[in-house]
């Protein structure tokens, strides 16, 4: 997670205290910024300067002697009642793809209310009206050009959900409920310790849960299957089939809290999916019933005497060990006599462990997935067995890691392969560091790749020189380039990227320039402009062109109103970074959809209002007003935690706050939660919504502090699994 510098705003912590009746006798406390790297208010500046001359007021020169702009009408401070907010946004969008253009309108409404006895209630409703060919689909006519079948026809859609979170019951139990376009529920252990997690699935239905936080939880959900669509206008499209899921998790032994030793937890989850069309065709309709069981243990490793220092969970602390064993079984049968779906049963088992020894953070897994293993409407890794081990070292000077994976097919239809990866980054000083990644895989898809980088900080900014090489079956590629983050104004950012790739794929040569620019700047009137553009230009006999450009203007108008305009253009397929994938990563690959060339213009008008007073009871609970969380999820190609101009946003990633509230990134990787209660929140990127082989840079969930009526901006890098 990265916090954008322009958002690292210095909050006016009203450290000064003065009795109102004391007048000037009580000196308000000065608070200063920037002394020390944290640039935080400095409370010890209360005392007047010793030995300073008697104050003689200096009158500053001013640039503008005009009368004060008419102050906006004083907004009555609604400081009574429960914390509450609403947001309503009207969007108009024009999208063109080839000869097809489509207009869409959307109305987005969200509201929340924190109650002391019934938890936090929230509602989200998105209504949209689209012309039929909204996805830019067309058929080639006699002219060879695409045409729209019914360009003037409109269809309406909606995407809505109502949530009740944290309803308190006796003895610390909390209840949760959701209805609308949501996801199937799972137990916390289903997110796994390693690289395989139990996927959740979008449904139009209902979900309920009850939990004693960090101890016991029970969940159930049911509904019609579907998928979220309509970037950037949110929507939900139902698909064939339905799913019902139920499960429970509880702590079996050990102390309280996530850092308790000798703690054992167990979980069970069932899912029943009816009349699912895995490939979108009726001919393969099937019923799938699946069950999953898991148990985890954490405590002192057998080779250690105690759990020592460190950050994170027990598995990330010296002497700590965390193990999780998973067992899944699915049964599939055709849903009718006309279905050609293959009946059968499959079992999957995988064990993951994480521990730390001194400087080394280690993890290992063994896995076996039989062919046709499924979870509801989604396929799990299939026909693969093997083992992997990973070790990482992080000091101020060194970052180094190694990963090795042995695997072969359960059905023997797949070859055995060995995948290895070595990574190292050495910090020469505070201005320079060098890094390298080497990867190789044996077997039928034998390949090798290497990356080298030198990062340098200077008065011009931050520069990275990078070279990527890859060699494999029908593949040879070399890419060299430079990324630079320029030192511009304190409230602006500007990054550029330029690289050249020479590749030979399937006996075809290609030479390509790849470029990017990324920046943000404030504008008059409180507006802010975000710009990003990435592209490639082929100069060989098989030229390939790619363009992805985006401009977003956000203009707060005052009084709770704001205006957003966004223009995006996309064409072609972005060149992939040369890299080698492991067999386990490949087994979990999801299909990639090519986005047709398109141009999109979106304008939106939003009104927000918030009010209420914090009434947080001792021991926590609902209610402390609300703020906003927003940011970008982006591909961190070079694993440095900074966003370079060549690093695009990741569309379609599901971002979850407190495991309950869901948002999806738009085509530029932007997500937003307009109303989040104040305090510390857990933000999680769902691994199974990320394009493989990408995953969260570190832990899949982070905590972020949200202040009432403030914007907490958090960007999330995702990285290719090393």
């Amino acid at each position: 997670m990265t916090i954008r510098p322009d958002r690292l705003a210095l909050r006016l912590c009203w450290v000064g205290m003065a009795l109102a009746s004391a007048g000037t006798g009580a000196q308000p406390t000065p608070a200063t910024a920037s002394e020390g790297r944290d640039a935080m208010p400095h409370p010890s500046a209360v005392a007047p300067a010793a030995g300073m001359p008697a104050p003689e007021e200096y009158v500053d020169r001013v640039l503008d002697d005009s009368p004060l702009p008419i102050p906006p009408e004083e907004i009555e401070a609604l400081r009574t009642g429960w914390p509450r907010s609403y947001s309503i946004e009207a969007q108009a969008l024009k999208q063109s793809s080839g000869a097809i253009s489509a207009d869409s309108q959307a109305l987005l409404f969200s509201a929340h209310l924190d109650t002391p006895n019934h938890g936090a209630l929230s509602a989200n409703l998105n209504l949209n009206r689209n012309s039929t060919p909204i996805h830019g689909l067309g058929l080639p006519g006699s002219s060879g050009l695409p045409y729209a079948l019914a360009p003037d026809a409109y269809r309406t859609g909606s995407n809505w959900r109502v949530d009740q979170r944290g309803m308190p019951f006796d003895e610390g139990w909390l209840g949760h409920g959701s209805i609308g376009h949501i996801h199937t529920t799972t137990s916390p252990l289903a997110r796994g310790l390693g690289r395989v997690s139990l996927p959740i699935q979008p449904i139009e239905g209902v979900a309920i849960g009850i939990e004693r936080p960090d101890r016991t939880s029970v969940n159930a959900s049911a509904g019609r299957l579907g998928y979220f669509d309509g970037l950037p206008v949110p929507g939900f499209s139902p698909r064939q089939g339905s799913a019902a899921s139920t499960g429970a998790q509880t702590q079996l032994s050990g102390g309280n809290g996530p850092l308790a030793l000798n703690r054992t937890d167990a979980a069970l989850q069932f899912i029943d999916a009816h009349h699912v069309h895995p490939n979108g065709a009726a001919g393969d309709a099937q019923h799938t019933r699946a069950a999953w069981a898991a148990a985890s243990w954490q405590g002192v490793a057998p080779w250690a005497d105690a759990v020592g220092h460190g950050i994170g969970g027990i598995g990330e602390r010296v002497g700590g060990l965390r193990v999780q064993a998973n067992l899944a079984r699915s049964t599939t049968r055709p849903s009718g006599p006309g279905s050609l779906a293959r009946p059968g049963a499959a079992t999957g088992a995988w064990i993951d462990a994480a521990w730390r020894t001194g400087l080394l953070q280690q993890s290992a897994s063994v896995f076996r997935f039989e062919p046709l293993l499924r979870w509801g409407a989604v396929a799990l890794p299939s026909d693969l067995q093997g083992a992997s081990w990973r070790s990482d070292l992080i000091t101020r000077q060194w970052q180094a890691g190694a990963y090795i994976e042995f695997s072969n097919g359960v059905s023997r239809r797949q070859d055995a392969s060995v995948y290895g990866n070595l990574y190292g980054r050495y910090r020469l000083d505070s201005r320079d560091s060098v890094s390298s990644t080497l990867a190789a895989r044996s077997g039928r898809f034998a390949a090798q790749s290497a990356q080298f980088a030198w990062e340098h900080k200077s008065g011009w900014g931050y520069t990275q020189w990078r070279t990527d090489l890859a060699h494999g079956v029908n593949l040879r590629a070399i890419r060299a380039g430079v990324d630079h983050a320029w030192n511009v104004g304190e409230t602006q950012t500007l990054s550029t990227s330029l690289s050249f790739e020479n590749s030979r794929t399937a006996n075809l040569d290609a030479r390509t320039w790849i470029w990017g620019i990324l920046g943000t700047t404030p504008l008059p009137g409180g507006a802010r402009l975000d710009l990003s553009a990435r592209g490639s230009h082929g100069i060989a006999s098989r030229p390939r062109h790619f363009l992805n450009a985006n401009a977003r203007l956000a203009w707060p108008l005052g009084g709770g109103w704001s205006f957003v305009a966004q223009y995006a253009a996309a064409r072609g397929q972005e060149p992939f970074h040369p890299a080698v994938l492991s067999a386990l990563t490949t087994a979990t690959l999801q299909p990639a959809y090519l986005t047709p060339a398109s141009r999109t213009l979106l304008v939106a008008l939003r009104h927000e209002a918030r009010a209420g007073v914090s009434r947080a009871p001792i021991g926590g609970g609902p209610g402390s007003g609300s703020g906003r969380i927003e940011g970008y999820v982006y591909f961190d190609h070079d694993n440095n935690g900074r966003r370079e101009a060549s690093e695009g946003g990741v569309p379609g990633v599901t971002v979850v706050v407190n495991r309950r509230h869901v948002a999806r990134t738009d085509a530029q990787g932007f997500y937003s939660f307009p109303a989040v209660t104040g305090g510390s929140h857990e933000i999680e990127l769902l691994q199974d919504t990320m394009p493989l082989p990408w995953g969260s840079a570190d832990a899949s969930s982070r905590r972020i502090d949200v202040y009432v009526r403030d914007i907490a901006s958090a960007d999330f890098p995702i990285r290719m699994n090393r």
Binding site: L10, T29, P30, S34, M40, P43, I75, I394, R709
Partner: protein, 270 residues
Amino acid sequence: MIRPADAIRSRCAAIGLAASTACSLSAAQFSLAASPPHFELSVKPGETVREAIELTQGDTGAGAYTLKTADWIFRPDAAVDFSDALLPESCRPWVAIERRKLSLAPGRPYRFRFEVSPPADAKPQECRFAVMIEGTRPSSAPGMPFALGARIGVIVYVAVGDVAPVLQLAGASVRTVEGRPTPMLSIRNTGQAHGRLAGFLSGTDASGTRLELQASTTPIMPGETRDIALIATRPGDTETAVAVRFPITVRGRLEWGRNGSMPIDQQFAP
């Protein structure tokens, strides 16, 4: 590394219970954000540099503020004294601010402009001042028997002409910081601009434990000598400061400015 949120908490905690209460209340009831928290600018004599502070009123109601410049002194204990009156060699006469009074509506950031115009014959120097933002009236909070008032200073450094820090090691000592003996480097700045140390050092304490030591980034003003704390952490855990068993031997290189660096090879003992 001390995380910013921890820094807020630690700073607020340092001023005692009453002010801590104010801090927590500020998060709930009052919020003015000034971004960025400080400026480091440069300008040639005879030219003008212009910048803007983005102010965001986070409260549900509009807020009225007065704005002015102030000189400041960075005390040896890392506190800051502000002075409304001009201090000797103050550069505030070169500074112009947009206006002296301002009303801010919630939800709409305001870009407050200021500019610095050193005269053509100004000698190379670092111009330092603060833009002070003060609430014009104390605000009362529900549930609080008293009203709150505050002001905030956004620190501005302006390098006039070709100035740079020149940092030298002047000594080493051990001092108690927050109840813990801490190795300190005494750093002298003979340059014309403030400087900060960057980088880390390797150390071995009396128990033979290998440690990493990060130099505090406290600024060192031109002409002054300041003690800079070295915060010790264990390799692999840069988040948790650990107690040092003295004597400790520290080696490595610290950087400052654009190209400056200094070798460190010191033994610290109380």
